[in-house]
C-alpha cells in the first residue's frame, strides 16, 4: 500500500461569531490517495467548504483549526512555515471556487491570470505557460482555444469561465485540486459540459481531487468515494457505487429519498372553465430588444404550471409581464376572464392582491430591517384592513400555516433565519394577501435539496388547502416532476412545447426538451459516461460553440 497523498486526522475547526468560538467541524479523518477523487457532500452549513480549505492548511478569517493534523505528501501543513506553504499552494495544491465570475479579476485577461501561477512558482516561462494554457483550453473543450485566453472574464460565459478556472488550477499540474461546488451556479445543460471536462482532465493527469457539492447526482458522476457530512460530523464514507446502492445511515437515506417527492395527479380541468390566468400571445421587449415572442398559456384554479428553460430563455420575463412590471408590447393577460391592465400601477388594489410573487433570493426579497411579524403583517393590514389584535392573530395563523412557531419567530429579523425559513416567510407574505395566483420564481434553486423539498411539500399542501394556482419558474426538472400539473418549455423567448406533465415527460420530445431532460443528472454513476457516449463527445464542444 502506498502512502496517501493527503491525510487529515481528527481535524477540528471553530468559527467565531459574536465573540464566541463555536465548532464547525468536530474531528474528521480524511485520506486521499494519488489520483483519487473524493466527493464531499452535505447541506449548507455542514462544513464542507471549511473542511475543503482546511485540506490546504488554510482557513478563512474568523475560522481556526484547533485540533488535528493535515499532512500533504508527508508535509505537515499546519506546522509548515509560510514559505513552505507558498511553495505548495497553487503549485501542488489548487483550488477551484464556486463562482468563477467572482474569482477572476475582471481587470485582467484570462491568460494573464492563468500564467501568473506557473511563472511565479518558476514552473514554466511565460511563453511555455501560454502555449500550455492553450493546450489545456483545448483539452477542456473550450471554444476557440487559441484566442479565448485573450478575452476578459466578462466576455466569456459562466460555464466557460468555470472551465478556464479549472485550466488555471491545472496550470502547474498540481497533485491535488479542491473543487468547491464548481457547477452549482450553472444551468443543467452547461453543467454537463463542465462536469465532463473536469472529469476528463482529472483522469488524464491523474490528479487527486476533493469534489465538494450538495448535489448527489453530480457527485455520483465525479467521485470514486463519497464522504457525507452533517453539521460538522462525518455520517459515512464509502465507495460511490456502494454508497448509492446501499447507504447504511438514516441521514444518507433521507438525502437519497429527496427526489422521490411527487404529487398525485389531479383530475382533468372541467371543459369550459374560466382559467385563473390566461396569457394570450404576449410579446415583450427590453428597450428595443425583443425578449418574448407570442407566449400563450392558461392556468386553472388549484393547478400548477411549470415554466422551464435555461437562463435567458425568458421565463422570468414572462413572470414580470404577468405581474405588470414589464408591460407587454403586444397581447394581453386575463385574470378570471378580465383583462388586466398591462402596467401594475394601473391595476386596482384587488387585482394587485390576486397576483402575488415569491422570489428566488429570499435574502433580497425580505427587508433586512423589518421583523418577520411586520413583514407578514403589512399585506394583511394593507389589503384586508385588519389592525391590532385581529391582525396579530392573522399573522400568527399565517406563521402556523408555513409551519413556523409564531411566538418564536414573530420578532426575529430575516438575518436570524436560515435560507429555508426566509423562503417560508416569503411564502407567508404572499399568502397574507389571500391571492388566487402566485408566481414562484425559482423559489427552491438557492436551497439545499432537503430544504427545497420541504418548501415544495409546503407549497403543495397550501395549494390543496387554499385552491391556489402557481406559476412555477424553474430550470430544475426534478422540481417540475415533483410539483407541476402542466409544463411550458421556453427557449429564446418562445414557447417550444407545452402540455400536461405526463405527456411532456414521455417521448417523443421536441429536440430542446429532449436536451433539457437528458441533462438532468441521475443517481447512476455511469449516467454521464453513457450520456456522453450517446451524444458523442464532440457534441458537447459543439454546444459550447453554439452558445458563444
Amino acid at each position: 500500500m502506498t502512502e496517501p497523498l493527503l491525510k487529515m486526522r481528527g481535524v477540528k475547526l471553530e468559527g467565531r461569531s459574536d465573540e464566541v468560538w463555536s465548532p464547525i467541524i468536530n474531528g474528521i479523518d480524511l485520506t486521499l490517495m494519488r489520483g483519487e477523487v473524493l466527493g464531499l457532500i452535505g447541506e449548507s452549513g455542514a462544513g464542507k467548504s471549511t473542511l475543503g480549505l482546511a485540506a490546504m492548511g488554510y482557513t478563512r478569517d474568523g475560522v481556526r483549526i484547533n485540533a488535528g493534523t493535515v499532512e500533504f505528501d508527508g508535509i505537515d501543513l499546519l506546522a509548515a512555515s509560510a514559505a513552505t506553504k507558498r511553495n505548495l499552494l497553487g503549485k501542488r495544491i489548487a483550488y477551484v471556487a464556486q463562482s468563477a465570475a467572482a474569482s477572476f479579476n475582471p481587470a485582467h485577461r484570462l491568460m494573464d491570470q492563468h500564467v501568473e501561477g506557473p511563472v511565479q512558482h518558476g514552473v514554466m516561462s511565460r511563453t511555455e505557460s501560454e502555449s500550455d494554457a492553450i493546450e489545456l483550453y483545448r483539452k477542456l473543450r473550450l471554444p476557440d482555444p487559441e484566442q479565448i485566453g485573450f478575452r476578459y472574464p466578462h466576455q466569456v460565459s459562466g460555464g466557460q469561465l468555470q472551465r478556464a478556472m479549472t485550466a488555471m488550477a491545472m496550470s502547474c499540474r498540481p497533485d491535488l485540486i479542491i473543487f468547491d461546488e464548481p457547477t452549482t451556479a450553472l444551468d443543467v445543460t452547461t453543467q454537463i459540459e463542465v462536469l465532463a471536462s473536469i472529469r476528463d482532465i482529472v483522469e488524464q493527469f491523474n490528479t487527486a481531487a476533493i469534489y465538494i457539492t450538495h448535489d448527489l447526482a453530480v457527485v455520483a458522476q465525479m467521485a470514486d468515494r463519497i464522504k457525507v457530512l452533517l453539521k460538522g460530523d462525518e455520517v459515512e464514507t464509502a465507495d460511490t457505487r456502494t454508497m448509492l446502492a446501499a447507504p447504511t445511515q438514516e441521514y444518507t437515506k433521507s438525502l437519497w429519498a429527496v427526489r422521490s417527492f411527487q404529487r398525485p395527479r389531479k383530475p382533468a380541468v372541467i371543459v369550459g372553465a374560466v382559467p385563473v390566468i390566461s396569457v394570450q400571445s404576449v410579446d415583450a421587449r427590453y428597450g428595443t430588444t425583443p425578449v418574448l415572442h407570442d407566449v400563450s398559456f392558461d392556468l386553472h384554479e388549484g393547478r400548477t404550471v411549470a415554466v422551464v428553460g435555461e437562463s435567458g430563455s425568458g421565463k422570468s420575463t414572462a413572470a414580470r409581464c404577468i405581474a405588470g412590471l414589464l408591460p407587454p408590447a403586444a397581447g394581453q393577460i386575463l385574470l378570471d376572464g378580465q383583462v388586466l391592465p398591462p402596467d401594475y400601477r394601473k391595476r386596482s388594489k384587488d387585482q394587485l392582491r390576486q397576483v402575488q410573487m415569491i422570489y428566488q433570493m429570499a435574502d433580497t426579497a425580505l427587508n433586512p430591517r423589518m421583523s418577520v411579524g411586520r413583514i407578514i403583517a403589512r399585506p394583511v393590514q394593507f389589503y384586508l384592513g385588519l389592525t391590532g389584535a385581529v391582525k396579530r392573530k392573522r399573522v400568527d395563523q399565517l406563521l402556523e400555516q408555513i409551519e413556523m412557531e409564531p411566538t418564536e419567530y414573530y420578532n426575529r429579523l430575516p438575518s436570524e433565519l436560515s435560507g429555508g425559513q426566509k423562503q417560508r416567510i416569503g411564502i407567508a407574505r404572499a399568502l397574507a394577501a389571500e391571492p388566487k395566483f402566485i408566481i414562484c420564481d425559482e423559489v427552491t434553486s438557492a436551497l439545499d435539496q432537503l430544504v427545497a423539498e420541504g418548501i415544495l411539500r409546503l407549497l403543495a399542501k397550501l395549494q390543496d388547502d387554499l385552491h391556489l394556482s402557481y406559476m412555477f419558474i424553474t430550470h430544475d426538472l426534478a422540481t417540475v416532476r415533483a410539483i407541476a400539473d402542466e409544463v411550458v418549455v421556453m427557449k429564446d423567448g418562445r414557447v417550444v412545447e407545452r402540455g400536461p406533465k405526463d405527456v411532456m415527460f414521455k417521448p417523443p420530445h421536441d429536440p430542446y426538451t429532449e436536451l433539457l431532460l437528458s441533462s438532468v443528472p441521475e443517481m447512476d454513476p455511469d449516467w454521464l459516461t453513457n450520456l456522453l457516449a450517446e451524444r458523442g463527445v464532440d457534441d458537447i464542444g459543439g454546444a459550447a460553440v453554439d452558445k458563444m
Binding site: 461569531s17 506546522a79 512555515s81 509560510a82 514559505a83 405581474a323 405588470g324 412590471l325 401594475y344 391595476r347 388594489k349 394587485l352 397576483v355 402575488q356 410573487m357 422570489y359 433570493m361 433580497t364 426579497a365 425580505l366 427587508n367 433586512p368 430591517r369 423589518m370 403589512r378 399585506p379 394593507f382 389589503y383 438575518s415 407574505r429 394577501a433
Partner: protein, 398 residues
Amino acid sequence: MMWFAIFLVGLAAIAWAFRFAGQAATGKAPYFRDMTFGVAYGYVIGAAVLAWLAWAYMQGRSVDPLIANKFFFLRIAIEGFIICAIAAWLFRLLGRAVGTGWSRKMFRSMPLTASFGVLTILIYAVLAIFAGVLAPYGQEQIIPGVAANIVPGGDPALGGNPDFPFGTDQIGRDILSRLIYGAQNTVGIAFATTLLAFFLGGTFGFLAATLGGWLDQLLSRAVDVLMAIPSLIFALLLMTIASVWAPRTGIPLTVFMVLIIAVIDSTRVFRLARAVGQNIVVMDYIEAAKLRGEGMGYLVFREILPNATAPLLAEFGLRFCFVFLTIAALSFLGVGIQPPLADWGTMVRDLGGFVNYAQFAPLAATAPLLAAGAIAMLTIAVNFVVDWMLQKSSGLKE
C-alpha cells in the same frame, strides 16, 4: 541627509536582529518564523518613535525654560492624550457598573475611542445646554478692572491670573466663559444646520432614486450646478447678499446662515442618499412593496430609509464636522456668527496673533489654540462615535 540614511540602515539592522532574536528566544514560534522583514522593521520604527516621544516629553518637563518651551505643546499633547484615555476608560467602567441592562450591554462592547467620543459629546452637550449657569461671566461681559490679554494657565509668574484660568481676550472678556457660550452658539447652530441639510438632501435623494426619470435628471443636474461652485466662496457670496437683506427683513443673519449652509451641504447628502437609495430600490423587497401598491411615503420611509441609516449616519458625523468647520470659517472671515456672540471660529481669528509667541512664550500662544482645540476635540469625538455605530450596524447585518 547622509546621517538619516545611516540611521535608517541602522534601524534595518536592528530589525533583522530583533526578528532573529525573537526566533531564537521562542524556538521558532510561527509568529516570528513567518514574520516578514517589513513587519519587523515596522516594530523597530514604532519603538524608535516611542523612544523619541518619551525623550521629548522629558525635555518638555525640563527646568530650563528654553528647552521646556521648545517641547511645551508636545508635552501638553501627550499629557492630554493620556488624560483623555484614562477619562474614557473610567467613563466606560462607570457605564458598565451603573445603568439599565441595555446601556450596560452597550458599554461592554464599546471600544475606548467610542467611550471617549460619547464622554466628550456629553460634556459638550451639558456645557451648551447649561452655558448660562456654568459660565462664570457673561459672553459679552467686559469685566471692569481686569487687564486684557491675560495669559492662560493662571500662573501670575508667567502673566496669568488664577481667577481667569484660561485668560482673557483682547478686550478683557473671560475666555473660559466665551468657550462655554461658544459651545452653545457654534454647536447648536451646526447641529440645526446639519439636520436641515439631511432633511433636504435625504428626501430629494431618495425621491430621485425611487422615481428616477426626469425628476432624477432635474434634481441631479441642479445639484451638479450647485456643487460646481466652490462651496466656501459660494457661501461667502450668499452671506454677503444675506447681510444686506437681514436688516431689511428683520430676520437674524444667523437664520440666513443656517439656510445657506444647509442648502449647500444638502447637495452632498443628496448624492449619497441617491446612490444608496439606488442600490436599495433594485432589491426584490422594494419590488414586492411596489407590486403591493404601496405609496411613495411608505416606500421611502419604511422600506428604504431603515436600510440606508448606516451610510447616512456615517455621513451625518462627517457632515456635522464640515458644517461646523464652515461656520467657524465664515465666522473667522467675519460673516458668520456676529460679535459680540461668542463663537469658536471668531475667537481663533481674534486671538490668532498670539500664535507668533509660540517659541518663547508658549502659554500666550495657547489662547487661540483653546478654541481651535475645542473644535478639533468635538470633530474627533463625533467621528469616533459614528465609527463605532457603523461597526455595530454592519456587524448586525452579518
